[in-house]
């Protein structure tokens, strides 16, 4: 009996310690664990940022479309890299959509413009004929050009492939021989807009021209990024855009956490009043359950979103269910005259099948939400699925074990402690 008490105290202390770490984090010399709130990957709706859904305007279908979308995706990825966003999330949705999620960005509008640009780069000769396109370009970067009057200014330095260099050499050789300024002008056009119209002073042999506009560093950098990544193989239309300021997201996060806290407190009270000792065990189990779900989400780097929190709170409510089923069964057995020890064993065994079948069906729903859902529905499916598995485990393993320890301690009498009015 004494051994059971020690184990029980140890378990309770352990859960309290884990909760403490989860809320405040630990720091022991070099060893430190962040609190759960900071370790969780927050979705855009909580963390702030932008997301854009783009749709390809094309009649292509099937394999051809898939290939096109993959190309578009990798080009967009390169463009996003130029923005220096940490962990951008770019996915193909449906057949012809791309969802781009960027967290913590300073100038959302600039980012959206950059991502969605078709970026069809063309070099035109003075007769406005296309001579070269972005296809012939290998690299583009920002360099500083010494300028006697204005100091150093950012320009975009381009490197062409062999074919491009040859064509460009021919063009510049031809033009530099002409006399009037206007005849010597090359037009560099991006998406139909002339971004630079330099005049050719001499033939350029090495295929490394420079675009010299009145750029700020950022403008030059964006242009270089666009040219480097290349043109989108298909025009994209902006379908849905969302810009979330970080403080509004945090407010939503805090409020949801507050709601979850209040909900748990009320549920604890409810369980303790109705079931007494087992109610306390269930509450401990619920704390453990919440810890498991949160740490598991940290572990698999699942992004916590607003609908995800809703799924979590809902699953807390449902986690109680397994306990209620078990405790009602135990009460029934006690009422039918069994000793408490036998009643606890029988109650668990009888409840197990019911818990298994009911949770399996809900699990089916959760998994299908995750697999077939898009956007917010997916996040909801993740937490619901994790929640159901964790709640089954805590109810079947933890609650059972701790309740048996308690039976060892309290002995076979005093059914009041188990929520039964009279024997």
């Amino acid at each position: 009996m004494k051994k059971s008490l020690i184990i029980l105290i140890f378990i309770v202390l352990f859960i309290i310690l884990l909760s403490f770490i989860a809320v405040f984090g630990v720091e022991l010399g070099n060893f430190s664990i962040n609190n759960v709130k900071d370790s969780l990957d927050l979705g855009l709706d909580l963390n702030g940022g932008i997301y854009v859904v783009l749709e390809a305007k094309t009649d292509k279908k099937g394999e051809e479309l898939n290939k096109l979308m993959e190309q578009t995706k990798s080009i967009i990825m390169q463009r996003v890299d130029g923005l220096g966003v940490s962990e951008p999330n770019i996915v193909i949705e449906g057949n012809n959509r791309i969802r781009i999620e960027l967290a913590g960005i300073k100038d959302p509008q600039q980012a959206i413009d950059l991502i969605g640009k078709t970026a069809q780069l063309e070099f035109l000769n003075p007769n406005k004929m296309v001579v070269l396109t972005g296809k012939n370009i290998v690299d583009a970067k920002v360099v500083y050009k010494k300028d006697q009057l204005e100091g150093d200014k950012p320009v975009v330095s381009i490197e062409m492939d062999k074919e491009g260099a040859e064509i460009f050499y021919e063009l510049t050789k031809q033009l530099s021989a002409l006399s009037t300024q206007i005849d010597k002008t090359v037009y560099i056009v991006l998406d139909g807009n002339v971004i630079s119209a330099p005049t050719v002073a001499e033939p350029i042999e090495n295929g490394k021209p420079i675009i010299d506009g009145d750029f700020t560093f950022e403008e030059a950098n964006n242009l270089a990024t666009l040219i480097r990544a290349g043109a989108l193989p298909v025009p994209m239309e902006e379908l849905q855009t969302s810009i979330i300021g970080p403080s509004l997201g945090l407010e939503a996060f805090d409020k949801s956490i507050f709601a979850a806290g209040i909900a748990m407190l009320i549920i604890f009270l409810f369980m303790v009043i109705i079931y007494r000792l087992p109610g306390i065990v269930a509450s401990l189990g619920l704390v453990l359950y919440t810890l498991i779900v949160l740490y598991f989400m940290v572990f698999i780097h699942a992004k916590l979103t607003l609908p995800g929190i809703a799924g979590l709170v809902l699953s807390i409510g449902m986690a109680v269910d397994a306990n209620v089923i078990i405790f009602e069964r135990i009460k029934e057995e006690i009422k039918s005259g069994k000793t408490i020890r036998v009643a606890v064993n029988l109650g668990f065994n009888r409840a197990l099948r019911s818990i298994l079948d009911s949770n399996m069906t809900t699990l089916i729903a959760g998994i299908i939400l995750y697999v077939f859902g898009i956007g917010p529905i997916k996040g909801f499916g993740v937490t619901l699925t994790i929640g159901i598995i964790a709640s089954m485990l805590t109810a079947v393993i933890f609650t059972k074990y701790v309740l048996k320890l308690i039976v060892d301690i309290t002995g076979n009498n005093n059914s009041w402690l188990y929520g039964v009015k009279e024997v």
Binding site: E55, G245, L248, A310, V313, I364
Partner: protein, 286 residues
């Protein structure tokens, strides 16, 4: 409690709600939310309370029909909803107008733009998800229980979805993607409830082979009643907390969940078992 005795009344209530929903569907249709109609939502954290008239003065320049809602403890947050697909340029200049005139606290704002096809895409996906989920559940229940239990459970689930949809039609609440997420959740929740009762019936069938079926059903429901009510209560507590303390987006999700849970519990008690009973009697007489 004799659930079979009241089945005429309970069936009638459900059918009345669903029929009203169907009639309203043809008369005025759904109140489609912005995810389905397409449009723009802009949320601004202004530095203080700003009256609707003052807000309108700015928004009228962009869309005269935009709706304006206040939120937050001191009503300092303004949510502007427009059915127009405002251009990014318009949105930026609108935000600048507010910033210059009223000041944004923490520079915080949020904008959302929806193309009309977005909602219908989510809707299509949801319908597919529901059909797949129902099929999988039917298979699972038929294996673990019997086909009749499976069919009765699925009919109950379809009932719950129809009731929720009808309530949205009757109360004319805007349908958004949150509503669809809620329907999918209720599928999972209500089946859980129903299965616990069916599990008890299955057990009683094994233990008391001679008891009449209708008595056996009532007994099983009676024995699981407390569990059904307690679980609904605890889950409702959780969802109510979300509804009361949560932000707008969460409320949008919590409200249909509240409807769905009540409908789900009701159908577990008064719809699922009577349907199973009828099917059992029919298969026995054949």
């Amino acid at each position: 409690m004799d659930v079979l005795k009241y089945k005429k009344i309970t069936y009638s209530i459900s059918i009345a709600i669903i029929l009203t929903g169907i009639v309203l569907f043809f008369i005025r249709g759904f109140n489609l939310g912005i995810d389905f109609t397409g449009g723009t939502i802009i949320t601004l954290n202004l530095s203080g309370y700003t009256s609707i008239e003052e807000v309108k003065e700015i928004t009228n320049k962009y869309d005269e029909n935009a709706s304006i809602i206040h939120e937050g403890e001191n009503k300092e947050t303004v949510i502007i909803k427009s059915n127009k697909d405002l251009s990014n340029k318009d949105i930026n200049s609108l935000i600048d107008d507010f910033r210059n005139q009223y000041g944004l606290s923490d520079n915080s704002y949020q904008t959302e733009k929806f193309g009309p096809s977005m909602g219908s895409e989510i809707f299509k996906r949801a319908i597919i998800s529901i059909i797949i989920a129902l099929a999988c559940m039917l298979i699972y229940i038929s294996i673990r229980f019997q086909l009749n239990f499976g069919v009765a459970a699925i009919v109950t689930l379809i009932h719950d979805c129809l009731i929720m949809t009808s309530l949205y039609l009757i109360l004319y609440i805007p349908v958004t993607s949150a509503f669809i997420a809620a329907i999918l959740t209720i599928l999972g929740y209500s089946i859980n409830d129903t299965i616990v009762v069916f599990d008890r019936i299955r057990e009683e069938l094994h233990m008391n082979k001679k008891t009449k079926l209708n008595l056996l059903i009532n007994n099983s429901i009676k024995m699981t009643l407390r569990r059904t009510l307690y679980t609904t209560m605890t889950t409702l507590i959780a969802v109510f907390c979300l509804y009361i303390f949560g932000v707008d987006d969460i409320k949008e999700l919590a409200l249909p969940l509240i409807f769905g849970m009540i409908a789900g519990t009701y159908s577990t008690l008064f719809i699922a078992s009577p349907i199973w009973y009828k099917m059992e009697m029919k298969s026995k007489s054949n």
